[in-house]
Each structure stands twice: as structure tokens, then as C-alpha cells.
Symmetry: D2
Subunit: 295 residues, 4 copies
């Protein structure tokens, strides 16, 4: 069994490390805060005096830190001491540039690099029910997989190093902005004087709860079928009614306004007669990116 080092026993990290111990991984931990170190000690983890000491004791080091700066600084110290053939696995949420720099620095020292950021919340981490989006070579993935399965119930191998971080950003983009979308929709519903339970009943029965991406899109734009079930021109017309009605109800909707202009641009770019899922093609054309298709 791999000897594991774990740095960063914050809200998420202590739950993750605890589950490694529960599955009997030999574990050394490091954190500036003595309380979680002591708590892990009671589960049988050793504690290291320094990042460097931890690096020397471990085959695989997991970092779970607040942000890019902390991760970069810690990795610099770690990589001075980690043995070639060992693995650095970062589960922090960082930008792709930081992840790519870490992967490169690790490779230069003969150390494997895995980015494995976490989906779901601290409560899931405590119960060993996290979700991981993993960027790793196949060989490194095979080595870290038992750790990930000790800490979580869902493990996605997304591709080589860097793809875990990037997938997490795409995923969180959707999950977080959906909240603003929901907030705008329900504030409008409240301003309209609608009954909340009834509104939710309706929404939950339509593609408004993102059946779009799960049900419609795989059979439409993602297969290259942009014949209109519901055309961008009509979607634009509906959005315009919504923006106008919200305005009359004195409810500001910043995301709706931005989206309306995006549909307006798509219309001006000649996508108006296409299915509204083809807003994907319009956005990709604007971004200069090939529109993705299912194989």
C-alpha cells in the first residue's frame, strides 16, 4: 500500500484524510492548525513537522489548499524533496495555468502529477462520498485510484494532467451560474405573485431543469441535427417577452439581459432558423472554437 502524505486539513481536507485512514492507508498529515492534526492523530495518522519531512515519508502526496498561491508555494517545497517515481496529487480548486505549471515542474523532477479536484460539498467529503474529476496519465491514475475510491463514490478519469481542473471549472460554471438563473427566475415568479410550489411543479416537469443538456441536446446539436424543434428566432422572441415583462414588473435580470443579446447576436449571425440548441454553434463560432459533436 502506498504511503500517503496529506497537506491541508480544512473543511474538505479533514474529511478526505479521515476516510483515507478509515480505509487503512498509512498516512502522514500536515497543517498549520493543530486541532485537525490532533483529530487525524486519533485515527492513527502521523503528523509531520514540515512539508519537507512529509515529502520524504510519502509515495503519494495529496494537497488540499485554499487557492493557487498556497498550492504553488507548497508544491515548490514538496518537489525539492519528493523522490522520483512518487506522485503529487492536487485536489485544490486552481486555475489551469497553475495546474499546468505544477505538472511541468513535477515532470522535470521525475514526479508524477495528478489533478483531482473535488465535486460535491464538505458533508459529502466527511462521509467519503466525494466526486473526483481526475487528470492523470493512465499509470498514475491506476496508482491514485484506490485513494480516490477511499475518499469518494464517483471517480471520473477525464484525460491527461490538467483535464481534471478544466473539467471542474466547466462543471462549476454550470452549477454556480444555474443558481443565479434560478434566482432570477424565482424573483420574477415572486414579483408576478405566482405560487412557489406551483411554479416548481411546472419547472420540474419541463426541460427547464436542464433536461436540455441531458435529453434534448444529445439528439440535436450534439449530433449535428439543427433542424428546428424550436427555432432560435422563436427563443429570441420569447426571451424578449420575458425581458419586457420583467421590466414591467420592475425586476432586474442581468443574466437574462446578457443571454438575450447572445441570442440576438446568433440571430444577426444567421442562426435564427436553426434549433435553439444550435446556440452552441453560434457561441463556438464567436469564440473561434470548433463546435463539439458526439462521435
Amino acid at each position: 500500500m502506498e504511503r500517503v502524505g496529506f497537506i491541508g486539513l480544512g473543511n474538505m481536507g479533514r474529511g478526505m484524510a479521515s476516510n483515507l485512514r478509515r480505509k487503512q492507508f498509512p498516512l502522514t498529515v500536515y497543517d498549520l492548525n493543530p486541532a485537525p492534526v490532533a483529530a487525524l492523530g486519533e485515527l492513527g495518522a502521523e503528523s509531520a513537522d514540515s512539508v519537507e519531512a512529509l515529502a520524504r515519508h510519502s509515495n503519494i502526496v495529496v494537497t488540499m489548499l485554499p487557492g493557487p498561491k498556497e498550492v504553488s508555494a507548497t508544491a515548490e517545497q514538496l518537489l525539492c524533496k519528493m523522490a522520483p517515481g512518487s506522485i503529487l496529487m492536487d485536489s485544490s480548486t486552481v486555475d489551469p495555468e497553475t495546474t499546468d505549471a505544477l505538472a511541468k515542474a513535477a515532470a522535470a523532477r521525475g514526479v508524477g502529477f495528478v489533478d483531482a479536484p473535488v465535486g460535491r460539498l464538505a458533508a459529502h467529503a466527511a462521509r467519503g462520498e466525494s466526486l473526483f474529476m481526475v487528470g492523470a496519465s493512465d499509470a498514475d491514475f491506476a496508482r491514485v485510484k484506490p485513494l480516490l475510491e477511499a475518499m469518494g463514490t464517483t471517480v471520473h478519469h477525464c484525460g491527461g494532467p490538467g483535464t481534471g481542473t478544466r473539467t471542474k471549472l466547466v462543471n462549476n460554471y454550470l452549477a454556480i451560474i444555474l443558481c443565479q438563473l434560478n434566482a432570477e427566475a424565482l424573483s420574477l415568479s415572486a414579483a408576478f405573485g405566482l405560487d412557489l410550489e406551483k411554479t416548481l411543479d411546472v419547472i420540474h416537469g419541463t426541460t427547464a431543469t436542464n433536461g436540455q443538456l441531458k435529453i434534448n441536446w444529445p439528439d440535436k446539436v450534439l449530433k449535428g441535427d439543427t433542424a428546428p424543434g424550436f427555432a432560435i428566432d422563436l427563443a429570441h422572441k420569447d426571451l424578449s417577452l420575458i425581458v419586457q415583462a420583467a421590466n414591467a414588473a420592475r425586476v432586474p435580470l442581468p443574466v437574462a439581459a446578457a443571454a438575450r443579446e447572445a441570442f440576438s447576436t446568433a440571430r444577426a449571425q444567421g442562426f435564427g432558423k436553426n434549433d435553439f440548441s444550435a446556440i452552441l454553434d453560434a457561441q463556438c463560432k464567436l469564440a473561434g472554437v470548433p463546435a463539439p459533436r458526439l462521435k
Copy 2:
């Protein structure tokens, strides 16, 4: 059985009217285009020479027209001839102001008014599988319900006149803007060089496919629990990483940018330590609307 008049045999309307005939409703239809009128004739519908003639023959008149202008003009003609105690049911997508004006004009003539806009697509309408969001008094709803059940499989009675139109706007707001959100997310995924299938696998397993509204929110903000599972400050930090990474990848994300500023405003307004579902409370405070809660 009620004698039904149906005006507007376009893409959606001809499917809806056909299903009324299949369920044996006595039906008179009117449209400027002779082809669908003839098709309905083959199913046993009569055709009227004018809107007024149709009004005189029907207890319930259904309108399914392109937009507010057409609906208002047709309703004006109808209401001159419809008998007190009859019902005007509009299934077009219009703004609340138009709906409210129709309801008022109908009431002034002793005619009942029902707004029953349609969810789902023309293909569903053809198969009698539409979804209706209905604003009507209880008495009027009881009378139109058999018609709606002939044309669709899901019928939501949302409240009094005007609530059907408003619920449709809220629902379509979500369904349509989700497309722009999905488009931005997948264009970013493509710019990142991620594998589409793997990205979809991940997204479909998280709240990114709007489990937010279905799973998380009813237990969090909608119950008034805003203790942070994932705080607005952290969501803001993640959004900032996403916006920065997209920028580095040269992908414009107009909706993400607007949403980031909304989270930034929520943070500046003191909501940073609340759960990210409390973006609802921040948005409602900005709009001057009471934040909706489940009973």
C-alpha cells in the same frame, strides 16, 4: 359537450385542433391558410367564414396565434360576438400585459377568460402530448380541462387568469437561457480540449444539470436555511477562476461575466458567508421583492 372554436392552425395549432377532433369535440376552425382548414375538415371539423361566425357557433373559443398583436386584434372581434357565459381560451405566447387586458375585456362582456400557453414542441402537440400552464377561475378551469386533456398529457392549474402566461415566461426563461449556459460551458470545454463525452458524464452526475433547483434548493434557501454548504464567497472565487481561465483560453462568456458581477454584488451586499443558494435572497433584495419560501 362544449362546442369548440379554434383559431390559428399553424405548426402547433393544427396538432392541437386535430386532437380535439380525435376526442370527438364538436369543432369549428378558422385560419387564413386553406390547407390546414381542409385537413381539419377531413377529421370532421367545420370551417367558419369569419372570426365572428366562429364566435357565434362556439361555447369555448381557443386562440393559438403568433403574438400579442394578432391575439389582441382577434380577441376584439371575438368578444363582440361571443355569448355571455362562454369562454375565451388563449394558448398563444404573449406578454402579461396583453393577457391581463384580454381578461379584463372578456370580463366586461361576461365572457370567461383562460390563458393556457403551451410547453413542449410542435411534435408533442401533434401527438396530443402537450403541457399546459393554465390561468383560470376554478369554474372556468373545470370547463376547459377536458379540452386540455384531449390536447395534452400534463395540465397545471397555476392560479387565476394571467398566471398561466406568467408561469410560462418563468419556465421558458429557464429553459432558453440554459441553452446559452450550456453553449458557453461546452465552448469552454472545447477550447480546453476536453473530451465531450467525458465532460457530459461528469456534468450529468452533479447538480450542474439543475439538481440545484430540484434537489438542493428545497432543503436550503427555499426553506430559509442559508447556512453555507458552499458559500457565496467560494462560489464567487470559483466563478472568478472560470472567467479568468476562459479569458486565457480566448473564449468570450457573456452570461458568465454577468453572473460573476451578480455574485460580486451579493458579496458587496453582505451575503458572502451565506450558502450559494442564497443568491436568491440577494437577487430578491435587489429587485425589492420578498424572497419566496416553501410553506
Copy 3:
């Protein structure tokens, strides 16, 4: 001298009408509010009992009303009674669709139509110092010009009917959104702890006070010269610094965020090496409109 009718003695209207009287125009006024009617009476204006009566007494009727609905309703009454060869001049702020409909209705009755919306404020109107943006045929313009010169100090003949309203929208777009821009800039300055007087000193000495459009653009993009004085790529880089610094200072900047994505789109569309005034060309390409150039 033309006999003038004036309908709408609100904040702006009473100042305008007063100046017509001061320059001795024979004047009949109409308003539901008796106070300004009496005040105009003291300046020698007659008062009409109805819109129709006013129409019959006047060669030129000026309307200055709150919005499209009031203008359309009043014009309908007026046009029934105005003699062929008379002129209807609307100075209200309305949408182009309304203006075009009025022009068409007037033409059908042989009545000339002039749209002459007002720039500047009520205080200017009171002093006879308004600015007018006028859409009119050359012949009609010649007839209304003395009235406009009685009421204002600046009269722009923008083209045929409809161009006055459209020019006002373009002008107000700039004037109003500049306020939001200024607000964002000064809120950022305040959050940065900068001295307001010094900030204004700096801003007033650069193209930040829209010398862009007055000084730079006529020699750059509007002449087709898009060689970079300051490239879109650099402007985008600066905008990114600003958005990031505002974010660190916890100041939401919704317009800056939208503009950054617009520059990001321009960059993705291949305009990055062009002068930043060429954002005009990028925007026009998105809108499917030919980029305007000075002759």
C-alpha cells in the same frame, strides 16, 4: 404666420409652448391639467376644449406627450380632423415603430409629419434653449423651422420622417449609458481611496471624456484606418486588469464586464491587432451591419 396647436403642457411642453407665444405665434393649447393651460392663457394662447377642436384651428400641431401610447391615441383623434396640407409635429420620445406608423397614417390623410424630439432638459426648454433632432421632408422642415428656432437654439435636420426619433435614441443611448460608465468608474475610484478632484483632473485631460468619438475616431476607424495606435489586444489586457482589480476591491462593474466580453469576442474574431477604435468594425460584423465610414 402658421397657426399652431400644442398638446401636452407637462414639464417640457409648457416651456416650449411659452416660447412659441413669446415669439408671437398664434397658439391654441390643450392639456387635461388646467394650471398650465391658464398660464399659457396669460401669455395670450387660446385654449381648446378638445383635441378635435384644436385640430380644426391649427395648421401645425405639436404633440409633447409622455410616451408612445399617448401619442398614438392623440394622433388618431388629430388626424381625423386635420386639414390636408397641415403638419403634425411630434416632439415626444417614442420608439421608431410608433413614429413610422404616425408618418404613414399622416401621409394617408395628406398631412405632413415631422418627428422632432428634444435634447437637453426642462430648464433649457423654459429658456428657449432646446436642441431638436428633426426628421422631415425638406418642404415640411422649412415650415416648422421657425417654430423650432423659437423654442430652441440648435436644430438638426437629420433626414426624412423617422430620422429625428432614431437620432435621439442613438444620442440618448450614449448620454445615459455614460452615466452608468461614470458611476462605475467613480465607484471604483472611491473603493481605491483615490482623491475625487485629482481623478477628475486626470480624466478630463484624456480621451476618457469621450474625445474618443470627437478626436480619435474621425481620424482612425471612421476613415478606415485601423492600424493600431493602441491595439484591441492591449485594450483587452487593460480591461482584464481593471475587471480583476475591481474584483479584488469588491466593486461589481456590470457594464465593464459586458464590455470585456465584447472585446474578448472581437479578439476571438481576429480583430486583436487592429486599433481599438476598430471595435466598431467588430460590433458591426456581429450585428450584420456595414461599418459606417466618413465620406
Copy 4:
């Protein structure tokens, strides 16, 4: 006379350095690119073999580099060798965080720090006509002033270290976003079929060319006078007309849409009856920043 070191002979830097030589400052230059180094040599500048060598020869070192990363890396090398009592002056465009870190690092070594970013373009720099926004202690400002006056015609002392960079960001925010604003306005004008020259004539005669900030604001909101000359409610109504007309003309206006929602938020927050310059107060309230006022 101070011995000056200059690092970064790019587009802007070579013009600036040349003007220092023309005014006879003893000058040592450093750049990786040999061509501009040779050109400066012909004007009598010496060239240093390394950043460190330049540091040892200079009382004042000027850096003019592409971005935060280059500035930070160079400053680290410089500060190891610069004598206490010397001054590091950075004219690059960087974020406030970088500037603050440089100021702190310099202070720790007894070295003065000045941030003096540049307004205007490379053509101005070549002619010694730059504009500088300077953050410096009074003593350091007195020492660098002769250099700045050799390189430019306008020198603003904005306050202590860090205020130059911040003022530049605020200034560029306005100057750059104005371009997007102008672009949207002129694309709308083009879509409306208006004559470009006439549109510019009108715009240049109103506050649309930012007389707002120069003429109106100092007498209105910046003095605390928010009595309505033109109320936010009316500005919002006009913006709504504009957005609707642009939509009808099929022109996407992302910045206008964002600004409309900002006015909508101000209205919902109770600012509707205030002068439209009070959008400043609305924005500052959202940002949690005290609204700035002239003394």
C-alpha cells in the same frame, strides 16, 4: 543630475528613454532586443550587460515592461542591488496588487517607489508628449518630476505610492469602454440608416460626448444635488425604448443591455425619482462604497 537606468525599450519605452537623453539625463539602458539598445546608444546612452549592473549604476531606475510578471521578476533582481535612497519608478501597466507589493519590497530595502503609468500613445511618447499618473511620496515626486517632464507634457501627482496605477485603471476603464459604447451607438445608427456625419454633428453638440462628467456632474450628484433635471425613471424609460428599437433593428447591444439592468436595479432600489447622475449613488450603494462628493 540623477543617473537614470531604463529597462524595457519596447514601443513606448524607446520613445520615453530617447527623450530622457535629449534632455541630457545620464542614461543606462537594458533590453533583450539589441536594436533599440543600439539606437539609444547613438543618442549617448550606455548599455548595461545585466539588470543588476544597471541597478548599481543608477539613482533612479525606470521600468517599462509588458505586464505584472515581467515587472515583478525584474524588480526582484533590481532591489537586490539598488542602493538605499535610490528610487524605482515603474511606468508599466500593472494591477494594484503588484504595485503595492513592489512598493512594500522597495520600502523594505530603503528604496523609494514611484508608480508612474503612462496615458496617451506610443506616438506621443516618441514626441515627449506623454501623460503620467504618478503615485509617490512628495519627496520622491520632487526627484522624479524632472524625468517625467522630460518625457511628457502632463504630469498628475495623484497621491502616495499605488495611486498612479489605480488612477490609470479608472482612466482607461472610461477610455476603453467608451469605444464599445461608441461602437454600439454607431452600429445602431448604421442599422437605422442614419447619415454618419449628421449623427456625429448631433452627438458632438450634446452631453453624449461625456459632457456628463465634465459639465453636469460637478453641479449635480458630485455636489450632492440629486433633484431631478432628468430622472432615473425617465432615463430607464429611454433606455428601454433604445433596447427595444435595437432589438427590432436586429442589432445586439451587450453593454446597453447591462446598463439597462443597472438602471432597473437603481429604480428597484428607490432611486427612480433622483436625477440620472445619481446612478452614481445607486452604484456606490450596491458596491458598499461611500458615494464620492466634491469638497
